[in-house]
Subunit: 612 residues, 2 copies
């Protein structure tokens, strides 16, 4: 049995196994369909199209003679499968950066060596060491003799500035070492290319994390890894990083009108949550998924690309930022560097770094030190468990506002006066919608959808609809939706968000209690991550995600994980600082904190609406 | 075209390329025939047998339709080739060892870790570090989580005692770490297996260096490497080392009645001449072959087996002893350790270490320090360029003595009263023969074969024969030789030895002059290497290889290269000492020493015979 798969950039034809699911068969060919549930058939998002059959869920479609028959295809002919159109994620790659001193880990220098004679028979490595004070690693001894003689004892090289070790022999017209910073998000990968000689940022790019084919969240990924896919999860990630590298070199080359090559990349700094950091290294992460949530390692690492199995030049230095706990990862450590949170505290201020996602990671910095916790918000802020939820990509409702006596909304990708029909709602749209519902009386403080819609203005009241025995608040009717299905939020959708916001709010309050601080004493809250960029702070305050006392003190910090990694490329000393920050922080495991449950229950209620 | 090759342990059938030589075709299948000249067709030693044709020189036999025809074989049928019988080399693996303190680089220990809880969420590596003070390298993080949980937080491991780094997780009934010492000789490899816990030597073994298929001496090997075979030279060597490891484990297992496994080998110490050390690491050595004779590196190295491409467990620690110059290698450094030459000097004595082979390496230790030189003796001491020369294996004449008015000789492998016919003469036999020739007046001080044999006793005079216009001294007539060809030495053979002994003698005298010492002031001369074991010291003095003043001060030190490497396994500190010795030594390049030429010419004469 054979498939003929039509993907964005290529067609591919291959043999498949009778009885496999279509999702499995596609995966084996590195064709990745988004499957947030990890192929368990619960999310219904792994749709592909089969010619003759139309859209199917690839995880529920078994490859068999009957399938060929149903599609009207001769059993000896290939079944034609069309992959969904891939969407380049709308990922913010910008964000806060601290003041930086240019002091990279890798530098380039040109050396001229004295030629050997019968009176000076020193070996090649000693000869180089005398002029350069550089140690020659063993692997370079394979290249050194010929290189030296071909270049007549001139040597242009990259070397490590900290250990003064020769890193790479390079061409005479090398542009100098480049560094790459990578934020390995569960959903998206963001990458940055910097010129280490000038400290200039040359290019940025992003892509969806190909691991999403194994599930949307870290727990699904861990489960898939434990079920025998650990190596695949590792492989797709390292290949994606190589792809990002290629893309960055391309972008930078066009921008600068130079021919950058893979061999110019000498240094990588990588950040991501603890689970991503494990999967990157092909390290089992399953003990993180179950109590008491133990990682294999959270320490900072300086490795070679070959240690990670990264398909870059094997000697490329790869620095993994340290994590702090199973659920406070290297992305948060990087965030501390990007926001200089610890420096705020040293200056006598109290500041919070908040990263909102499936887990809400919270760090509070005070002059007494750093405390952190992670709170399981669930995927509501990514709209993954919301009936009409979708990622923050084109077609998603991202903001809901009052329009006289009704609701109105904006859609990502809408330009000018043209109307773009919505396809669903993303996380920031959800927060915004709930805030609007509260203001307009569509839901009450307990989150319950009004059972008296007739008391509301008629346009508004008309949005409360009953269908299939469920009450929903309709944002767009089927006729005005991109997919021909009404876009609405159910009572359950509202509860999901309510739980999520309570978890975050309770986490913030717990850390404040631990530090004996009132919300009023906080000077700044940095909201990290893509979500922070899109979230309307007023909406966040309106739903009680943050205490009202933080109004006016909250700022979006952008992709702090990527920025923190980038900062380490430019100023190597920051990597050492990250090591210290990660080891000095006090982490509170919320499942061991009874007080957290009380705070969580209190935070379930929405604040009284200040509008209407 | 197909060959069917019958080798000692296996038959193998494979396709070959029209136009290749038989030697090339065999090599490509890892079938190695000795070819001291490196396949240039000058040594005539790469004989194999073709059914239907008999013995052929494999380097001169081109694979073609005519060859099949000549052998009377159908062109579509395989040509049957019989490999020569392989001879296990008679290698001395014993030798001097210094007094040793047991302090190996790798030790085994069992640790019990506290189980994690919600109150103690430390990562696995930190948990281990607290109990053991061991660092966990990145690659072991892939195994650690499962191992810890399966073993219920008990952990039996090998670790590095110097850096306190975890090396390997091992089974509970592990016999503890084993160490392997290897002397990579140009001709033979000698290997030793030690129990690092007790310091006991468990087994020793040896094999011919499979690189001999690429030439007998280091220069041929370098030429072959430079001609595109560097990778092959590396590959055959590392595979041979893995083979030695397997053989040692077998021997030790039978001896101790235990089941030793490859994973029990944790540490290797390797010694060899500078060229062997380069080829081991797949490092270009061609600059060593031409003036000014520059190695890529002579420094001591601590590596992983994977860095060397050694097919052992990739984390096995491999220590390469330092070399001192292009022609004074790590084998000599190891010899310093084995003989404690530097300690003799510290105790106020003057001592010489002499390794006689194609190059004669000489180290003189005095209370003022160590000086060394290397002198190009050529292959005469290995009998490689001698008309009837052969290795020191079964069938070789190894000693020649006076028998009344005639010569007699002994043959290696001869047992009891049975007569073993000689097949050729080895190096020690050659020295012994020349000494006897001198004593008996068959040659004079200038090395000239007497032109008045009729003045000698008739049996003796009859040994001087003329054939093909050459004067020869016959040791055994064709009828009494294993190969049916007379065994004799030509005037040229005698000149080869004369040059060789002059080179060594002049080197010794030069170092004495540099240290302002007379031969009488030397306390001990250690003769290293296999040759030292077989050489009769009186013969050596008789031909003037050593100054007469050294009579009674000379001792055979055995395989000092292997013993020095073994010593480092048992007492790790010696590896550090080797590093210092190698960097402190003063090396004299003889080709830059005019005085050497004078001494060499003087040393060409044989001493006046003290016999007859």
């Amino acid at each position: 049995m054979e498939l003929y798969v039509i993907d964005q950039d290529r067609d591919i034809r291959f043999q498949v196994q009778d009885g496999d699911t279509l999702l499995q068969a596609l995966r084996q060919q590195d064709l990745y369909v988004t499957a947030p549930c990890g192929g368990r058939g619960t999310c219904g998002k792994c749709t592909v199209s089969i010619d003759g059959l139309g859209d199917v869920l690839s995880c529920k479609t078994r490859l068999s003679a009957e399938l060929w028959q149903q599609a009207g295809v001769n059993p000896n002919a290939p079944l034609v499968v069309r992959m969904p159109e891939r969407v380049r994620p709308q990922v913010s790659t910008s964000g806060m950066l601290p003041d930086l001193n240019l002091s990279p880990l890798v530098a380039m220098q040109d050396f001229v060596l004295p030629e050997p004679t019968l009176e000076d028979q020193r070996a090649d490595d000693e000869r180089l060491a005398e002029v350069s004070q550089l140690d020659v690693p063993y692997r370079l001894l394979r290249q050194l003799p010929r290189h030296l003689r071909e270049q007549r004892y001139h040597l242009n090289c990259f070397y490590r500035t900290d250990t003064r070790t020769l890193l790479r022999l390079v061409r005479q017209d090398s542009p100098g070492p480049l560094g790459m910073a990578i934020d390995i998000g569960t959903t998206t990968l963001a990458a940055y290319l910097a010129d280490l000689t000038s400290g200039r940022l040359l290019a940025t790019t992003a892509m969806l994390n190909p691991q999403r084919a194994f599930g949307a969240d870290v727990i699904s990924r861990i489960e898939q890894a434990a079920a025998g896919h650990q190596d695949s999860l590792h492989q797709v990630l390292v290949r994606a990083i190589a792809e990002l590298a290629g893309h960055l070199l391309d972008l930078a080359g066009r921008q600068e009108n130079r021919d950058y090559k893979l061999e110019d990349i000498a240094h990588l700094v990588l950040a991501g949550n603890t689970v991503m950091m494990h999967l990157l290294g092909n390290i089992p992460a399953d003990a993180i998924a179950r109590t008491p949530f133990i990682p294999a390692s959270v320490a900072a690492k300086t490795l070679a690309a070959s240690d990670l199995g990264l398909p870059l030049l094997p000697d490329t230095i790869c620095q993994l930022l340290p994590s702090m706990a199973g659920y406070v990862g290297a992305d948060i450590t990087a965030g501390l560097l990007a926001t200089s949170l610890h420096l705020e505290a040293k200056a006598g201020k109290n500041a919070i770094l908040l990263d909102i996602g499936t887990n809400g990671e919270i760090v509070l910095a005070t002059p007494q030190g750093l405390v952190a916790c992670s709170t399981a918000a669930g995927p509501a802020f990514e709209a993954a468990n919301i009936s009409c939820g979708m990622g923050g990509i084109q077609g998603a409702i991202d903001r809901v506002s009052d329009a006289g006596d009704d609701l109105s909304f904006s859609v990502i990708g809408q330009q000018g006066l043209e109307t773009l029909l919505p396809a669903g709602i993303c996380g920031s749209g959800l927060v915004s919608a709930i805030a609007a519902f509260l203001r307009l009386g569509l839901i009450d403080e307990t989150g319950r959808i009004t059972d008296e819609p007739e008391d509301l203005p008629s346009a508004l009241g008309g949005r409360v609809v009953e269908a299939d025995g469920l009450t929903r608040i309709e944002l767009a009717p089927a006729a005005k939706s991109a997919r021909g299905k009404a876009i609405s939020l159910t009572q359950k959708d509202i509860r999901e968000l309510q739980n999520a916001k309570a978890a975050i709010a309770a986490g913030v309050l717990l850390l404040l209690e631990k530090a004996s601080l009132a919300p009023e004493q906080i000077d700044t809250v940095f909201i990290a991550g893509g979500f922070g960029n899109y979230l309307d702070i007023d909406d966040a305050l309106a739903i009680g995600l943050l205490p009202p006392a933080l109004r006016g003190k909250t700022r979006s910090a952008g992709n702090t994980a990527g920025m923190g990694a980038l900062a380490c490329l430019i100023e190597q000393e920051l990597f050492q600082q990250a090591r210290e920050l990660a080891s000095d922080i006090t982490y509170y495991e919320l499942s061991a904190q009874k007080r957290f449950t009380d705070l969580y229950i209190e935070a379930m209620l929405f604040p009284e609406a200040d509008g209407v």
